[in-house]
């Protein structure tokens, strides 16, 4: 009997059935994998809603570009100078993003990063995207930050963060070195846009 298993006919039959079995088995696994992938893909689609697309484009500016950027364009202008390495800057950013959303259309709001230039495509846009920050974002690259600081206002003593609010004429209405006090900043903005009630 044992010997018969190895004669010509039986061997061919055994090979044929063996191949058929392997084929069916393989198809079964493939189908299962495909199904599994489809299910997984469906689950992912359901679990992860599409993220809000936030522009995190950061534009490099120099002293000249900054002078242009800080000129109000018919509306009050709020500017936040910050850096990714500055803890209080990062801590206050969610409040600033909220202020931007609440006063959208009533004031202009830009951010100016003083990070190293290498961060213009790395940490700066990443942080802004994480914060869902939609304000126009700049990175200031100058030879001497101290000189630029002095040109903004003599009262800026060089620390970050620094937030400054201009009225529509370009006059300084408020500034703060260090983390902003949100209520104070909102109050100062409200003074400039008294007829436009800010959303809470």
């Amino acid at each position: 009997m044992k010997k018969a298993l190895f004669n010509g006919v039986n061997t061919t039959k055994a090979l044929f059935f063996g191949l058929v079995f392997v084929q069916i088995f393989s198809l079964g696994i493939f189908a299962q994998k495909t199904k599994s992938k489809t299910v997984k893909s469906k689950v992912q689609t359901v679990k992860t809603p599409p993220k809000q697309i936030v522009s995190a484009k950061v534009t490099q500016i120099d002293e000249v570009g900054l002078k242009t950027a800080i000129k109000p364009n018919g509306k009050p202008l709020l500017i936040n100078f910050w850096a990714t390495w500055c803890d209080p800057c990062r801590e206050e950013f969610p409040d600033l993003v909220k202020i931007d959303a609440d006063y959208k259309g009533k004031i202009d709001f830009i951010t100016v990063s003083l990070d190293d230039l290498v961060e213009i495509n790395r940490d700066v846009p990443k942080f802004l995207a994480d914060m869902k920050a939609a304000m126009p974002a700049y990175l200031l690259k100058v030879e001497d930050e101290g000189a630029v600081i002095g040109s903004i206002t003599k009262d800026w003593q060089g620390g970050l963060p620094f937030t400054i609010l201009y009225n529509e004429k370009g006059e300084i209405a408020y500034f703060r070195q260090g983390k902003v006090k949100t209520d104070t900043l909102r109050g100062e903005i409200d003074k400039l846009v008294p007829k436009l009630l800010a959303k809470n």
Binding site: W85, C86, D87, P88, L114, D116, E143, D144, E145, G146, A147, I149, G150, D155, W156, Q157, G158, G159, L160, P161, Y174, F175, R176, Q177, G178, K179, K181, T184
Partner: protein, 197 residues
């Protein structure tokens, strides 16, 4: 009548305080001001006095932070300048006025990075007195404790493109009996984190 005047003055003072916008510490300690002796603890908890640490020809108070990346970028330059001018009788004293940095952190950082004494100004009293707001920020005093220069060490935080060595220029001028042309330059760096912030 006198009591009424005092009362009115007090009311005025309160109103002035309330109405005064809060934008950081005003610069009241100006060039030419004389610093009185003060005492603070060093990183080993030992009380030190300014008079005990000051240099024969002058003294630099440098406000530091154990966490600020701008200070980190300046550490080598600070040590080099401190070493170069110690021989000329100018001593450096580090001051840490950040309420957010523990004495242990400051001690470890100072031991790793500086060869001069670092003092803990835990309530930012000295920073308030001088109007210091940034790290790094330097105050250079002559032998009589009169402020000669205040602000940035130089004009480039990276150290790669320094074209104006403000502090060294001030040292060289004063050591040679010449007038310091630039007595202040805006410091740039991390805000000193006070308890009230």
């Amino acid at each position: 009548m006198k009591q009424k005047s005092i009362l009115l003055a007090a009311i005025f003072a309160v109103f002035a305080f309330v109405l005064c916008p809060d934008e950081g510490n005003a610069q009241t300690f100006t060039i030419g001001s004389a610093l009185e002796n003060f005492k603070l603890s060093d990183t080993n908890g030992k009380e030190q006095s300014f008079d005990g640490l000051k240099g024969e020809k002058g003294t630099v108070l440098v406000f530091l932070s154990a966490q600020c990346p701008v200070v980190k970028g300046y550490n080598d330059r600070i040590n080099q300048i401190a070493a170069d001018y110690k021989a000329n009788g100018i001593n450096f004293i580090g001051i840490n006025s950040n309420a957010t940095e523990s004495p242990e952190l400051v001690k470890v950082h100072a031991a790793e990075h500086y060869k001069f004494t670092v003092l803990l100004d835990k309530d930012s009293i000295l920073a308030d007195k001088l109007g210091a707001n940034v790290t790094p920020e330097v105050y250079y005093f002559d032998a009589k404790n009169v402020l000669l220069y205040h602000g940035a060490i130089d004009n480039d935080r990276s150290g790669k493109n320094v074209t104006e060595g403000y502090l060294k220029v001030a040292f060289d001028a004063s050591l040679n009996g010449k007038k310091i042309e630039k007595t202040s330059a805006n410091a740039f760096g991390c805000s000193i984190k006070r308890k009230a912030d």
